[in-house]
Every structure is written in C-alpha cells, then in structure tokens.
Symmetry: C2
Subunit: 904 residues, 2 copies
C-alpha cells in the first residue's frame, strides 16, 4: 500500500538504495509467519508470494537473503529448511527458551549452523543466529515517539547525557561481544510500532554513532555504524569460524519459569480451522487457475486468496493472539477469500464439464457445512441437482460427501437417488444430526438430518460430478440413533467393527475401552478416549508466579487435568456407508466416533463448547487417549505438518530443563497434523503398536503420562497473560461461549505400517476435495451425456510417495509446480526410498518448458554462502541423474523440488 | 532549538514560506502566556522577547499579526490591550464560559471588537474571535498519531469512508457557518502534542480538501483550503460587517456547571511567588544592563533571565497546572535565572560604586530571605559589611531592609551599627523571628533573629550602599515578643497605633476588630481578618457533579468556608522602626501584622502550611477580611496587575449565570496585584471607605459576602481534576506539605485617596529594591570616601503618575524604554490626568536618538486593519502635541508608550 502511494521520485530513491544494498529486504514473506501454527504449505505460499512481489518490484536486489523471524514464539526446523531451500543465507530470531539462551550466551553458541534436514545436505542448512537482546534496542537507547530516551549533546542542557550514553553503549557492546564468537556485534535498533516518525530515531542514532566512534581516539575498540543483517552475516562468514550445529527445533518457548508459550498452539480453534480449510481451498483453486483458462482469468480472486492466506499466517493471526476485533477482521478477509475461491471453482468446474455448449451450471457452495447448514440442499426438496467434486490430490481419493437436509411435512426428509459419473447408483445413508448440532448457538438451519455417501476414486487433479435426484414420493428410511444402556453391573462391552477394527466400549461407562486390528494379528490395545480439562491459571502477571493462562501462555492451575462425567450418554447410528458412535460427556464436550466400513482410519469428530465460565474460571479442554502402549516418555509431533520431531517428556536435547513446576505445559508441542506414540520396544516393528492422531487444524499436546496422548481442542480464559493481547481469550458468539467442531483421525496399527497410513491420510487434509451444488433440470441419464462428468489433469496418478504440492499460475503464463516426497528417511521400508518420476508420463498436457528454481520460485538461482561447521562431512552432496528438461526428476525422502513449467 | 539545528536548505525553504505568507507566526511570545496569573510587565516582556527573535530571524514577515491564545483558561482585557498595542490585528481564543459561548453562537457574536481600553481608542482595540470547536479538529477528523481518524479512499478497503467523511465535513462547515456573521469558516486542525509526524496530518488533509471540493460540482458551497489566521481575518475584514463590541473580560472561565477554572489563580503559591520576585529582579537587571556597561556585557545572563521569565508565564507554568516534575524544572530554570541576575547585579553595583580604582566588592545575595535564611549575615558575626540596594523605581522609595542573624555564645546576637550613604547612623531593630519560621521544614539556618531598617529615599533608578559594622562587644538589646492575654471576659481591646492608623484587637479572641484612620476623620471600619478554609471537593470526574477540586478547578465541598480557632495566640513586638502583631491561628495558618511608624500601608505577612491532609481531605486556605463596608455585592480586581475590573457577585455583564451551585468559585477572580471593596454610597468620596488588599504574587478571590474580601493563599488537594495535569495538587517538601509565606498589604482609606496610595504601593512590588551583601575591611568612614555610595540614572524623579516601566538593552546598542501612566481615567482627581513629561530633563545621560515603536519594540511600525463596530465614534483619535525627538511626551491615563533610545 505504501509503495502504491509513493511518487516516482520516492520510488527511484528507494530502488537506488535497494540496488546499492543500503536498504535490504529481510524475511520478505507476505507476513512474518508463525512457526508453530502455520502449515508448511502455507508458509511456503506466504514466503513465495511476498518474494514474488519484491522481485517483480525491485528486481534481483529485492530478493531477501535473510530469514528474519524476530517475534514468533518458538522456531521450527521446517521453517529453517524452507528458508534454506529458498536460498537464504541466514536466519535470525529473538525468542528461545530462557535457559537455552543463557547457556548459549555462556558457551558462545548463540550462532550456529542449523542442519534442518540432514538428508538433503547443504540445501536445507542455514546459518542461524539468536538475537542478544530480543529485537529491542539496549536499555536507554529507544529513540522513538513510543519511548522516551534521547541523546542530548547540548552541554548547556540540564539533561546533557551524551557522555553517559556513550559509555553505556560501549559497555553494552563489549558485554554483548562476550556472548558471540566473532568481533562483530549486531545491535538491534527498533521495536514494535516504532519508526512511525523515523526521523526521531535517525537523529539520535546519528549522534550516537558520531560520539561513540569519537571514543576510538581514546582507545575505544567499538566502531558503530549503520548496517544490515546481510552485512553482518558477511562479517561472520568472512571470520573463518567453525560453527556449532543444531538439528532439533526451538519448541516450546518459555520466557520464564511459568510462561510456556504453548497456549497459542490451540488458541482460537475455529479460527485455526478456518485458516486450515481456506489454505486447502487455496491449494485446489491454484491448480484450477493453472489448468482452466476461465479460472485462470480470475487473477484478482486468486491473488485475494493468496494474500488472505499470507496475512493469516502472521504470528499474531493464526496463533490466535490478536485482539478479538482484529481477529474478526481476519475472519472477514478469509471469508472474502473463500468467496473468491468459490468463483474460481465455479469457473473451473464449468470449464471441466463443458460439452457441446451445454449451459453453465450455477454453483452454490455450502461454506457452513462445518455446522451442518446448507441453504441449497435444505431448500432443494424436489428435482435434481449436481454435486461437483474437485480432487486436488495427485492420486484418486474417496472422500465422504455430506449435506444436511430437512424433514418435510410428513416428518421425513426427501428421498435421494445419487448417480456417480459413470451412471452407477451410489449407496448413501441419511443420519439424524447429533444433538449438539441441533442446539448450536447461531446455527441458522432447520436441517435435522444429513445425507452422506462416498465419492469413490475421484480422478487425480480433476473433477467428478454426481447427480442427485430428490423426491418426496415416499418416506425416507432415516437411520435410527440407538441409545446404549450403560450400566455399571454389566460386564460385557459394546462391540463395533468394520473390515479393519474391532472397537469395544466399556458397558459400565460408555467409553471406548479397546481397539483391536482384525487384519494385524497381535495389534491390539486398551484405549480409553476421554474429554478432560484444565482450569486456566488466574493471575494478574505482577510477577512470574502470578502469570495467567492466556492467549499465548498455557498454564493450568493443577498439573493433572480435571475429569468430567465418568458415565457417558452413548448411542450409535449404523448405516450402509459408515457407523457412528455418539458419546456425550457434557453439554460442552462430546464427539462422534465415525468409522467407514472400508477404512483403516477412525474419526473422532469433537464438538467443544460453550466452555462454562460461571464459576469465574477459564477452562482448557483436551481429548486424551489413554492406552497400554509403553512409549517410555517418548512421543512424536510434526514440524509444520511436514518433518517429524521426536519428543521426550521432561527433556530438551540442548539444555537442562531443571526445576520447573509447569509439568504439563512444558511438555506441550505444536501439532499441525500428526502426533503419535509407539511401543518403545520395537524388536518386531510388526508387533509394536503405534497410535497416531491426525488433526484438521493447528493444535498442541503431548504425552503427559506414559501411554497417553492428548490434544487440546478448545480454551476459554478470563485473564490476559500480559504478553501483548491485552484481552482475555474469552471467545464468545451469540451470547455464549464459542463452540468449535473438529476432527481427530486416529489410527492404531503396527509401527511398520504406520507412516504409509498417516502420510496418505494427512495429505488428504491439505488436498481436501472441494464440492459444490448446482440445480439441474436434467435427469441423471441426460446429464451423463450432456456434460463431462469426470476429468483429470494427469495421465497417470503420482506414485504413492509423491505429492503434487503446488501447481499455480506464476509469471508470464508459466506455472509454478512443486513436487514433494511425502516420506522422511526410514519412515517406511519402501516408500522412504528416493522417488524417481517421469513427469511427461504423468501430466496430461504437453510440457513446453521446464526449469528448476529455488523453493520460492524466484527467477534467479541463489548463490549461497558456505559455512564451516562442527562435524561437516568432506563429501559433496549427492548428485542425481535427473534430466529435468525431459521431466526425469528424482525426489529424495522429504524433498520438495520446485519448477517453473509451461504447459500446452 | 529546532531552528538552530536546521541546515541552510531547510532554513531557506522556511524563510521563503514565511516571506510568501504561506507560513505565518501567530502569537509569537516566548511562550503562550497565561492571562490570569501573569503580570502585565511579564506578558509584555514575554511577547516582546519572542517577537524580537522572530523579527531578527525572519525579518518583517516574521512579525505576528494575530494573537493566538487558544488554550489559556480565561482571557483578560489587559492581554487584549497588549496585543492591540503591539499592533496585532486579531486575537483568537478557545475558552470562554460555556453559557457565554452558547449565547454568542446563537447570536452570532462569537466575533467582536474588543475595546480593551476605550480611553486609548483604536490603539487598544482588537478584533477578537472565539473559536467554534475549542482548538480541535471536528470530531472524526483528528489525523494524528495520537488519534485514530483516517480518510480511506481506496474503494476496495472495508474501511472505505471518504463519502461519509466528506458529507460529515460539509455538514460541519454548514453548522459552524450558522454561528458566525460571514461566510468564512475557520476549521482548526490540530491539538496538543499533534504534528509530531506531520505527514500523517497533511496526507489526510490533502485528501479531505480534494474530495470535499469535488462536491462543488454537485452544488456544494463549501470550498476547503489551507489557510492562515491572517488570511481568515482578511476575509472578515473585507466582509464589510459591523461588529459587536466587548469591554469587560472573559473571567472566570467555566467549562461546565461544576468546573470553574478559578483554582489555578492560586495553585502553587510559592512557585507563583518565585516567578513574581524573579520578574521583579528581571526588571531591575534590565535597567542595570542598560546603564552599566560591565553589566550590559553579561548578555547571556540577561537573556537567560528573559527566557526563564518568558517560559514561566506559560499557561501551564505560572498557573501551577504542570506536573510536579515539570514544575521542579521550572524552579530550576528560575533558579538559574536568579543566579544570572545576581551576576548582573554584582557587575552593576561594582560599576556604580567604583571610585579611584577601589577594589571590587564580592557580593553575596541572600536568595532565601523569604524563609529568613542568609548564609552571609548569619556567618558574619564580627567586622564590617556593605549592603548595596538597587532601586529600579523612577522615584525614591524607602524599603525595609531585612537580614537574619544568629545568637552568639552569650545568647545574644551581635550588635550592629548601620551607616547610610551619607554617613548617618540608621535606626534599626533586632526582632526575634516568628515561631513558624523557626520550625519551617527544610530551613537550613540557625538564625533566630532578624535585623531590619529602613533604607530611606533610595535614589531613583540607582544604587545606595549601607555600611554595617558588627560587634560582639556587648549584648544586643533584642526586642521582646510580648504575649497578649486573650480573655473572653475582657471588654477592652488591645490598641496599636502609628502616625496614620489605630488598630484595635478584640481582647476576647485576638482578632483585629477595627481600624481607624487617625488622619482622615470619619474613616473607620470594623475589620476582622480571619484564616478559614474550604475542603476541596473529592471526586473522580466521571461526570460533571463528580468533579474534584484540583490544580485548575476550585470546587469547595461546601459554599461556606470552615472556620478555625476563634481564640488566637497573639503577641506583639514593638521596635523603633516598626511594630509587629503576631497572630497564630493554627500550626498551618498564621500571620504577622506589620506596620511601620511612617506608613499608610499595613502588612499581613502570612505563613500557610503544611496544610493537614490526615483526614483524607484536601484544603484551600483563605485570608478573609470581614468589614462593615457596605459594598453592595461589588468589588474590584485587577487585570494582570494593570487595568481595574469592576466585579459584581453572582453576575456577568454579557450573559445570564443561571442556576448554579458553585456560589463561591463562580465569584473568584484573578488578583495579580489589587482587590478592593468600597462603600457603595459614594455621595462623599472623602467619607466612603475603601479597603484595598495588595498581593505579592498571583492569587484569586472575591467578595463572597457583603463587606468581606477574601484571597486564597494556599491549596493542597488529593484528587486530580482531570483537565490534563494527571496529578493531584499535593505539594510536598521535606516530608510534609509545602509551606508558603507571602505578603498582603492592606490599606483602609477614603475612596478619594485610595488610588494614589495603592498605585504608588503596588508599583513598588514590581520595582522591588534588590539588595546584596559584601564584606569589607573598611570602616564606615573610609568606605564613605573610598566608594560612591549613591548613584542615580535620573536627574530628577519621574512624576508621581509615571513609571519607567522598561529600560533594557535592545538592538545594536540601543535601549528599549517604556513609560507608563500608572493611573486609569477617573481613578484619582489629579493623578488621572494626562501626564506630560520632558524626558531630557529626567534622564541623566544625554539622549542621542529616540524613536517611538509599538509596544513590542519591533522595528517596523504596524499598519493595523480598521474595523466597523457598534457605537464607533466618528471622530479621530485625539492628537497629542508631542515632540518625541526632544523628549516631550504625553502619557494619557493608563497608557504605555514604547521607545527605542540611544543614550550617551
């Protein structure tokens, strides 16, 4: 916006300073994204879109070389890998655990070589520095309207202070130098909201530099000058130092003994869910815009989505740490982005189905399906409509398609005949909606039922359309919700099963008690899922121990969660497509355990809230799975949804945790996508059990006691934690606490089989099918001949371990394409091998040109600095026998490769 | 400071804008002075010194044409007169009584011709405008870092608001126009502390102007443009309107029914006292710098004083409405100014006394004589010293010279022989100090006595030196403090008298009960002086009636003052020079009634504080004189110490007071110098009585009940009044409440004789003698021959009604001289006549050149706008038969005339 408003003179000045290196862009993402709650696909999009603007506006010199994550509250290995793979030379940040920081200062390891993904060698290595003094100026040197320091060099002034200021600064520089290996000292001069009147800063800095350097005549060794992070980094690179290395991450961040910044992993679950679904939509519509010219022409709509998702990755956006009115604005932005996305969907869907000039369909999306509300399907009680589904995944997938429907005057919903793209009738169920949905505050719907069916084997990167014929001719045979008689005297459990699992419920309480694999002999576990909650600490943040649990900080009042009702209200609905066990713990905590007859993946669709606060205490709701898995304090979480981080309870790889009363929050880690525990004894991986839980949004959790894995799903708090929001995280809507609904997929399987399942499943959450509804007057038969009902951009599906991560319009008609190896080294016996693909055999359209770029898709290949570090191998990085121009590409495990391609 | 720091390019740009009239200086004083608590001599100095800088820096175009008193809390007639006499064309301010403002808006009399001193005609008339909306932008148009309005003209923004902003502004302009006579509308765009980042303002104003004016195409009559007060005023002057007139003042200012801004008249009495004495010193040292080259070379010292006094006239300085730490800085500035002033004194005194190369004297001033502390006289217990006194008055005066002394080991102070400039021994007294002084917190003195004598007939505008010989040879005959036996059964009063008065004390209580003129038969009054206090209203300013009494606001909890002890501790000390009656009411309220044997002026030297606050209630201490004078609700106060304002209780000349519960504070007026009541029946002015009270600092008060006249002397409050200080006015020092000591002079006389006395007396408070001490080894005899002991700059004293108000170094070796007629028309039968003087017969030094200027002393004669107003006389202003080059000058009553002169 600022740039747009400048005149040419200012722009020329600015460009010249950029060209001369006097002004450099650092970071350069559309926003400075969070590292705990942002998905790696979203981070890469955010960075690339920002960089594209810089490169398009300022040319080569506009390209950042420095990752500048000075404010995010902890740092992920995946973020480091992304920066490295974008070709950055260095990464600086401010926030790391206070004990880690002290140790690193003492040992001169504040600066290090972060080997983010050793399998990829130098490609994913980045020099990383922790800032000495947050990102603030030294105390006494904040020269801004918002602070009150000033250098007064008029000796007649009673406030004349230049002598003491100079000696303070020199002392500061000397002290800081002790914490670092080289004689270069970076002094950050700025802060949040500073430089609104930049002159105040520069006037004082000019004085400071002049007077400090004048001391050199008296022997001072401090030479102060305006610099840039790149200049500083060059100083370090020239210094010939062998740097220490780092291979884990910087989570969780604790700023003092009672301030673990682990609450924001979960804060604002509906907002985090909306960002996640919007990000999924962005991935799909980028593909559509790339492949369907009618969609590609909606460039403004696509850019709106890109920018909306970019800003929502901000470290005070997706984190849930903005004030309510700011968050409301983020929602608005996301909403507009979704509206734009559906326009692209409609254009692409019509392109895809167009045959012989058939009339275009008018699509109605149902964006409130998350609360089982859909104006279109609720009002369509007769006639026909089309459901068109887009599958962004590079392989077929078979999602459940759902739509809510109302009862007619005869008390029954209409009947439906669903016809698939080949003309086959598709089986479906009509289920009554769960009770908590019917009473959901703010739901503007009369639907009491939902229809669901499986859209089987959707074409990869393509559309499939289903024809639905609606009739009121006869009563619908709605599946009945059957109440289970929970009774303490009963000994037998309630048993449910599908092709893969036997699930037993404790007849005394209604809780799940065990899960057994039918197809994997010996894989069986006692499993009890339970909703529990922590009381959020109340406090006024007057000292460390008075810290409240708040938007940033998770601080429970006790270190054991509080239990809820032991005896649940449990019922089940059994259908042709799936079975649901519906377990109600309290008004504000329930879930539906859903299992499809054909699926190895179980679902817990939870409904959380309104969290009661009548007792004046905020609460933080968890879903805890307690098993007999002997995980020996170890558990695993993801890094922005991609890499896997091994975790050990009460342990940090690089420093001593020491005494600490925060036994729960210190063991909370971000969970973007997956968390799992497994038997420590893996002498036979086929008999070791692994319970994996996949999330549909950014959450957090851990294994707080052995055998257990918990995820927090919602939090509502009444006190601010005094780290900047200035409001309590007390989300309300429609006169009561906010209700969130979300999905945990969970899988019990052998360790050897686990990655194959969860990697395949979690990619479907990002590459979510999109579907919308359109009325048609055609019968199924006429529709099948009048429209193309199934199209794909691929001639063949991608291999099981490769993901078409990105396909989007880029510059001058070319597309940006990213291919991703979905497995980490060693994760799967087969699928973790390098994946060679021949692109020309996969893409349906002829490839006219293809060029590999760095991860950002920038036009110029980066020349990265080289660093010596401890344990550096002599050998060069491996060479691959690729022939990129012919589309012969090898993906190493977990590798992402980025190309600019032109398709015919 | 800003100007000093700019480079030549910026200065050139700035000068060009000034020359083109695009940027104009308004106001232009060294500070925007207060109008209630600033003495007219200080106001004129403040304005003239600011203007001199502007004229010296920017030439003719730097000269302000507009008085800009937008923030002061009420407006004086004298201020208007000063601006008019400086040649200004207009005066704008924001604050006037809310009822007055409403009435003026309704009647289109917001703009008027203020005839500040009708006797002087056009010379003292100024066009005056009250601003429509304080000095703030219209609501919704504050475009500054400190506020949050903004014009957003990007139609894609969700906050796009330019359409509503434009219509709001047009509506505002149309509404405002209804309150004014012409079709010119001034919209103020700024506020306190605004424009720190000016760009934010201008960017939005540019947009506003563009979009508002674009509406003219659709018929809007609003044309918005950047303007200056002078351009606006020209618009009004060209409009051909006959304006209403104003002849009273705008005091007191009430902003709502419970917010009378009358507390600041008195707030911080010691600070106000220090400013007053420093101002007096400035007047004297300006003379010395003009007359003694050795003093004149101390230009930096003189400028330090000028600037210190200038800034201390600010409407949040002398008013007592700055925070404590800011006030502390004002004290620091004044202290430095006084130190500088004493340097000038020393240089001038040594010049004046230099004979035959006698060694210079090393002078010690005693700046803490206000608390009877003087390191020099306390430590000089033997030998000789000189007291050199400077008399800045253009006539002889005979002040009391005082110095504190200690007791020696024999229990007695030393004995003193004081020799006057002619060699005569001068009678003196040694009095014990009053008890409250001996226990004064923070007093760093062992002195228990003070010596005083009359320095009789000091030479006008000159020095006189007294020789003091100190000896311990015999015990000093200290005058004894005699306790009066107050007894309810007694009927007889205690009677004291001098040449002019008989004062009787009530033997039952110790209070003064009557005063009788011995020399004026029939002039006698019952008079009771009493200390009383108001409890300051406690409140949190959540609404009008919750308003606290604070630094600005005087709001007593009840409308009758609370009485203190009825029976006083009274004693007296009778000396050869004077008699003191010492009356102690409470620890925190006492006074000394002092009368010299030869004086028509009585003194009440009050000591107030530490005001007790143990009961959680702030208190406001008054000295009330209750008499049998039948004043019929009328009383008189001064206008900045010069013009006299008639007041009537519960009445305003220009609007209805209406219902109002603030019966006391609405009748408080500023008293800079004099207040009086007189018998309403003046059929024989020689028999009508007048009680006049003169103050030594800015105070406030009124005649709250008939026959009474009260002045508030001190206030200590525990709540802020929420008008900007943000602190309660709870002055403390040395661990307790601040103690103030000050002087009320009071005169009982006939109406016909009153002005002659009070005018002669009050000028002595501004033209205070200055004296300092220097050791000498010479005997009185040798000293009389070795030094000049008496010098004067005048050949003859000025007439009784003329004051040499100003004599100070100005430009290029020339002096600025102001002559002032001290009497208003009709004030005195004789002295109120025009005063012709022949300057060459008065000044001792030959006059080489003389040129009259406007009141500011600027180099270019102003060309003032002419205005039509209601009741304007046809005749021209009177012409005077002056011959200025020959020093023949006529001063009309109350007139000040200003000259630039060169003396040989």
């Amino acid at each position: 916006m600022w740039w747009d408003e400048q005149n040419e003179e200012t722009r020329d000045n600015y460009r010249r300073m950029v060209d001369e290196g006097r002004l450099e862009f650092i970071g350069g993402g559309w926003s400075m994204n969070d590292e705990a709650s942002a998905h790696y696909t979203a981070i890469i999009d955010n960075m690339s879109w920002g960089w594209k603007f810089l490169e398009d506006t300022f040319g080569t010199c506009g390209r950042p070389k420095i990752g500048w994550q000075i404010d995010p509250f902890g740092h992920s290995r995946e973020q480091a890998a992304i920066f490295a793979e974008m070709g950055m030379d260095g990464l600086f940040f401010a926030r790391l655990d206070y004990r880690d920081k002290t140790k690193r200062k003492n040992e001169q390891t504040m600066e290090m070589l972060w080997r983010a993904n050793p399998r990829l060698g130098a490609k994913s290595e980045i020099f990383t520095g922790a800032l000495y003094n947050h990102y603030s100026p030294p105390p006494g040197f904040c020269f801004d309207l918002l602070c009150s320091d000033v250098i007064i060099d008029n000796p007649n002034s009673p406030d004349y202070n230049v002598i003491s200021k100079v000696s303070d600064l020199i002392k500061w520089a000397e002290d800081e130098a002790k914490a670092f290996k080289t004689n270069h000292v970076m002094i950050t001069m700025g802060n949040d909201f500073n430089y609104q009147d930049a002159h105040v800063w520069y006037k004082n800095l000019d004085k400071l530099i002049r007077y400090v350097n004048a001391e050199q005549a008296s022997g001072s060794r401090v030479n102060l000058f305006y610099s840039t992070p790149s200049c500083y980094l060059k100083g370090l690179n020239d210094a010939g130092v062998t740097w220490p290395t780092k291979t884990d991450d910087f989570f969780p961040y604790a700023s003092d003994p009672h301030a673990y910044w682990t609450g924001y992993f979960i804060s604002r679950p509906t907002f985090k869910g909306y960002i996640r679904s919007s990000n999924a939509m962005l991935q799909a519509v980028k593909q559509m815009s790339s492949l369907a010219p009618a969609a590609g022409s909606l460039e403004a709509e696509l850019n709106l989505m890109r920018e909306a998702l970019g800003i929502n990755q901000h470290h005070d956006a997706v984190t849930g740490t903005a004030k309510q009115h700011v968050t409301d604005d983020y929602y608005r932005i996301l909403h507009n982005a979704n509206v734009a996305g559906w326009k692209i969907f409609e254009a692409a869907a019509n392109s895809a189905s167009a045959v012989n000039g058939a009339p275009k369909l008018a699509y109605s999306p149902c964006p409130r399906l998350n609360i089982s509300e859909c104006a279109f399907t609720e009002s369509t009680t007769s006639g026909n409509f089309i459901i068109t589904v887009y599958n962004p995944l590079g392989r077929p997938q078979s999602p459940l398609i759902v739509f809510p429907v109302v009862a007619l005057e005869n008390g029954s919903p209409p009947t439906y005949v669903i016809t698939d793209p080949e003309g086959n009738t598709v089986p479906h169920d009509v289920f009554p909606l769960p009770q908590p949905i019917l009473v959901l505050p703010g739901r503007n719907s009369n639907a009491e039922y939902q229809v669901h069916f499986v859209a089987r084997d959707l074409p990869p990167v393509g559309f499939a359309s289903y024809h639905v014929s609606v009739s009121t001719a006869r009563k619908n045979r709605v599946k009945r919700e059957v109440k289970l008689k929970v009774n303490r005297s009963k000994k037998q459990g309630f048993v449910f099963e599908n092709d893969f699992y036997v699930i037993t419920l404790d007849s005394a309480t209604g809780h799940v008690s065990s899960i057994e694999r039918k197809d994997q002999p010996g894989i069986s576990a006692s499993v009890r899922q339970e909703f529990m909650f922590y009381n959020g600490m109340r406090g006024f943040n007057q000292n460390f121990s008075d810290r409240a649990s708040g938007a940033y900080i998770f601080r429970p009042e006790s270190q054991a969660p509080l239990t809820m009702r032991d005896q649940l209200d449990v019922s089940f609905v059994a259908g042709d497509v799936l079975t649901e066990i519906r377990a109600y713990t309290e008004d504000w905590a329930s879930h539906v355990i859903r299992f499809r007859s054909d699926s190895e993946v179980l679902e817990s669709e939870w409904i959380a809230g309104p969290i009661p606060i009548d007792d004046g205490v905020g609460k933080e709701l968890i879903s805890r799975f307690v098993t007999d898995i002997r995980n020996g304090a170890k558990f695993y979480t993801d890094s922005n949804g991609k890499l896997t981080e091994p975790r050990t309870r009460d342990y940090r790889p690089t420093f001593e945790l020491g005494d600490d009363t925060e036994a729960v929050s210190r063991n909370y880690y971000p969970v973007l996508s997956r968390s799992y525990i497994r038997d420590e004894d893996q002498s036979d991986p086929n008999l070791s059990r692994q319970l994996t839980i996949l999330t549909d949004r950014a959450q957090g959790g851990g294994s707080i006691v052995d055998g257990a894995l918990e995820l927090m799903v919602h939090r509502r708090l009444l006190y601010d934690d005094a780290f900047g929001v200035g409001e309590a995280l007390n989300e309300s809507a429609f006169g009561t606490g906010l209700v969130a609904r979300g999905l945990h997929k969970f899988i019990l399987t052998s360790v050897s089989n686990a990655a194959k399942l969860y990697r395949a499943e979690e990619v479907k959450d990002i590459m979510r099918p999109l579907y919308a509804f359109a009325p048609t007057s055609l019968s199924a038969k006429k529709w099948l001949t009048g429209y193309a009902t199934k199209v794909s951009a691929l001639k063949a599906p991608l291999p099981e371990n490769v993901n078409l991560m990105t396909l989007e319009p880029w510059r001058d008609g070319r597309l940006l394409m990213r291919l991703e190896h979905m497995f980490e080294p060693g994760e799967d016996a087969v699928l973790s091998n390098s994946a060679p693909i021949e692109l020309l055999d996969i893409l349906a359209a002829p490839v006219l040109s293809i060029r590999e770029t760095d991860l950002s898709g920038s036009q110029v290949a980066p020349v990265k600095m080289k660093w010596d570090y401890e344990g550096k191998a002599d050998k060069e990085d491996e060479s691959l026998n690729d022939d990129i121009e012919k589309g012969v590409i090898t993906l190493r495990p977990s590798e992402i490769r980025t190309f600019v391609v032109t398709l015919a």
